[in-house]
């Protein structure tokens, strides 16, 4: 009862505080990307774009790794190492985001700039359509770096949830498959994974939520520049959370302040939309799931 009330109170407060900007810019706030505190023109499209792109990069990179790790840990790893390895992965979740940020800026960014990004440009950059993603001068402080650091940060929660979900799959699922003469890998891919799918999607949703709200580490490497939406991952970008963190304190006019608060409103809205989509996915996935043992 208290939770929806709190949420409603927060939403109300944000709407009130962002009203000057809401009424002044209306829809253009969502569709334009000029953010000019000097001339008091605000459009947050580039922030929304940056948030979605970095989160997508993070999920695309982290999901296969997390899934692989959890399958390995539950199905294939020797029993002795299962506990310690899972523990190590989960400990990643306890590292403060500023530490990830510092590591990213001093270790990851130079590697991205000097090796990873030129290599991507030299290979995938030549492929039509996808090549667009890797155009421009690699600077290292860009959307891709933001996404990669987020991928590392959401890895523990993705792995932990997928692992728990895989552990919860009834042993009868596997046994039935193996009894039919399937190999271990066939048992996993045909019986265990389909059964666990809703839970894994749930884990991804938690990861997305974390990536959306993550501020510090992303701010340090994403480039903090909202100039344009170019379609390339090699350009400096800006996320909604970073924009709030960077500009809230010095937002010195009423309109500027309310424009920043409107970013928070937008963040809330986008979070609600993404969460709703995810819930629908989970529901469908649960409905599709094989009932009982596969025989």
């Amino acid at each position: 009862m208290l939770v929806p009330l709190t949420l409603a109170a927060i939403a109300l407060l944000i709407v009130i505080d962002s009203w000057p900007s809401l009424s002044r810019f209306g829809l253009s706030y969502f569709t334009t990307s000029v953010w000019d505190p000097v001339h008091l023109v605000f459009g947050a499209a580039a922030y929304v774009y940056g948030t979605i792109v970095t989160t997508l990069v993070a999920v695309v990179l982290a999901t296969p790794v997390a899934l692989g790790a959890s399958i390995f840990l539950t199905e294939f790893a020797p029993r002795r190492i299962r506990g310690p390895v899972a523990y190590l992965i989960e400990i990643l979740a306890y590292i403060p985001s500023i530490v990830y940020g510092l590591w990213a800026i001093f270790v990851m960014v130079p590697v991205m700039r000097d090796r990873v990004e030129p290599a991507l440009q030299g290979s995938l950059g030549k492929v039509p359509v996808i090549g667009q993603l890797f155009s421009g001068t690699p600077v290292g402080l860009d959307l891709l770096s933001g996404g990669v650091v987020l991928a590392i940060m959401i890895l523990p929660i993705l792995t932990a949830v997928s692992r728990e979900v895989l552990l919860a799959v009834p042993p009868t699922q596997r046994e039935a498959m193996i009894g039919l003469g399937a190999t271990r890998w066939e048992a996993v891919s045909l019986a265990v994974l389909p059964y666990a799918r809703p839970g894994i999607i749930g884990g991804i949703v938690l990861g997305v939520a974390r990536a959306f709200g993550e501020t510090m580490a992303v701010t340090m490497v994403v480039g903090n520049s909202s100039r344009d939406i170019s379609g390339s991952l090699f350009v400096p970008g800006y996320t909604m959370a970073s924009a709030i963190a960077n500009q809230f304190v010095e937002a010195d006019s009423e309109l500027y302040f309310s424009a920043i608060v409107e970013v928070a409103l937008l963040l809330l809205l986008v979070a609600i939309v993404v969460n709703t989509i995810a819930r629908l996915l989970i529901r469908r996935s649960v409905a599709d799931r094989p009932q009982g043992a596969v025989v």
């Binding site: 000029v34 953010w35 000019d36 505190p37 000097v38 001339h39 029993r79 002795r80 299962r82 506990g83 310690p84 899972a86 523990y87 989960e90 800026i105 001093f106 960014v109 130079p110 700039r113 001068t137 600077v139 290292g140 402080l141 860009d142 552990l167 701010t219 340090m220 480039g223 903090n224 520049s225 100039r227 400096p236 800006y238 970073s242 960077n246 500009q247 304190v249 010095e250 937002a251 010195d252 006019s253």
Partner: protein
């Protein structure tokens, strides 16, 4: 209990130990030593200026909030001033914007800002305010050009061109012509700016607006602006770090930050056409001949508080004051007296701490104008300082 459950139990106990040690650590910390107030009531007028001792009729506690740039020296002042007078001052370096907000909302007794307030901000302060210059600082361009160790020279046009995105290569003739003998590479320029709102950005963009009409109309000046290109990093440290790491990058940082971290920085041609190295002396020079705008109508006169692009031939062109925001009239006389005495002490005795901490002191002429400002503050219509 299978292996997995055991691992889980172990995890839980390790977590418990971590928690417990955290609690212990925080219990042992805290309780910072209280600064001891000293200074006995002397003969004569203890509450007059210059400040020599404790004054019993002034407020014993003040809160201030504002700019981070003068934070270190204000902290030093607060400490020294407490020894002298026993007054406890709590200065929070929350940023110029936050300071202006706190001062306007009256949640802080005085504010501090690196940039002059706008008309709208001045109008929002009920009872009015004065801006008192306290110390000076400068902003310098810092860069990372592969294989170049010399201090590069920049004309104002070149600097504006780089940040506008019109000059994109280091070997552009606009840069090369001023740096004969330096081999500049044919590499791309990446500009780095502050991503957080900052007085440093305010000063830098104020300068660019003065020397470039295109900058003024396209971008303008402010603590956060719509940068035409480049990457943003948080704080002086963030900008310096990004410049250091990115070959071909150029950014701007506070002079004290560059000095303390031994960063190389460029030289910018000043309004008299001379290349003067950025230093505390050349920063102070920028305020020589400064005339305080008419105190009665501060509104609309902000540009006169800006000392960028100074006409003094020995001045560093990207220099600035930082201001203390004091109320024009304050009904609480004890509080008004405490604020004024502190500001007086800071702009006089406090100046001796400037150079050690990397700030440029106010020239004598500006100290005089600061005195005039402080003497004009009233409480219930009557002047507070005699």
């Amino acid at each position: 209990m299978n292996t997995w459950e055991k691992g889980r139990a172990m995890k839980r106990s390790i977590f418990a130990i971590l928690m417990a040690s955290g609690v212990l650590a925080s219990a042992c910390g805290g309780a910072a030593p209280q600064p001891t107030g000293s200074g006995s009531a002397a003969a004569g007028e203890p509450c007059a200026v210059p400040v020599t001792t404790r004054c019993n009729t002034e407020a014993q506690n003040l809160t201030g909030a504002g700019a981070t740039f003068p934070g270190p020296i204000y902290t030093k002042w607060v400490d020294e001033y407490n020894r002298l007078t026993g007054v406890q001052i709590n200065y929070q370096a929350v940023g110029s914007g936050g300071g202006i907000k706190a001062f306007t909302d009256k949640t802080a007794d005085f504010g501090a800002s690196d940039v002059a307030l706008t008309d709208a901000q001045i109008a929002a302060v009920s009872g009015g305010l004065y801006m008192v210059p306290t110390v000076m600082g400068a902003v310098v361009p810092t860069y990372n050009v592969p294989n170049v160790t010399a201090n590069l020279k920049f004309t104002p046009e070149a600097l504006a061109g780089i940040f506008l995105g019109a000059i994109t290569k280091w070997n552009d003739p606009k840069i090369a012509s001023e740096n004969a003998g330096v081999t500049l590479p044919d590499s791309a320029i990446t500009t780095v700016h502050r991503s957080d709102g900052s007085g440093t950005t305010g000063v830098f963009t104020d300068y660019l607006s003065k020397i470039s009409g295109e900058w003024k109309t396209k971008v303008g000046s402010g603590t956060t602006v719509n940068w035409p290109n480049g990457v943003g990093s948080s704080g002086n440290a963030g900008v310096a770090g990004s410049v250091k790491q990115t070959p071909g990058a150029i950014g701007y940082v506070e002079l004290i930050y560059a000095i303390q971290n031994k960063l190389g920085y460029g030289v910018v041609k000043n309004a008299s056409g001379k290349y003067v190295d950025a230093s505390l002396d050349s920063t102070s020079k920028a305020a020589d001949g400064f005339a305080m705008p008419d105190l009665g109508k501060l509104s609309g006169e902000q540009s006169k508080l800006s000392i960028t692009n100074s006409t003094n031939p020995d001045a560093w062109p990207i220099s600035t004051f930082t201001f203390l925001l004091v109320p024009k009239d304050l009904s609480d006389k004890g509080k008004a007296l405490a604020i004024l005495r502190f500001a007086w002490w800071g702009t006089h005795e406090g100046q001796t701490f400037t150079k050690d901490l990397g700030y440029a002191p106010l020239p004598a002429g500006v100290v005089k104008t600061a005195e005039d400002v402080l003497r004009s503050v009233t409480s219930g219509g009557a002047k507070v300082l005699k």
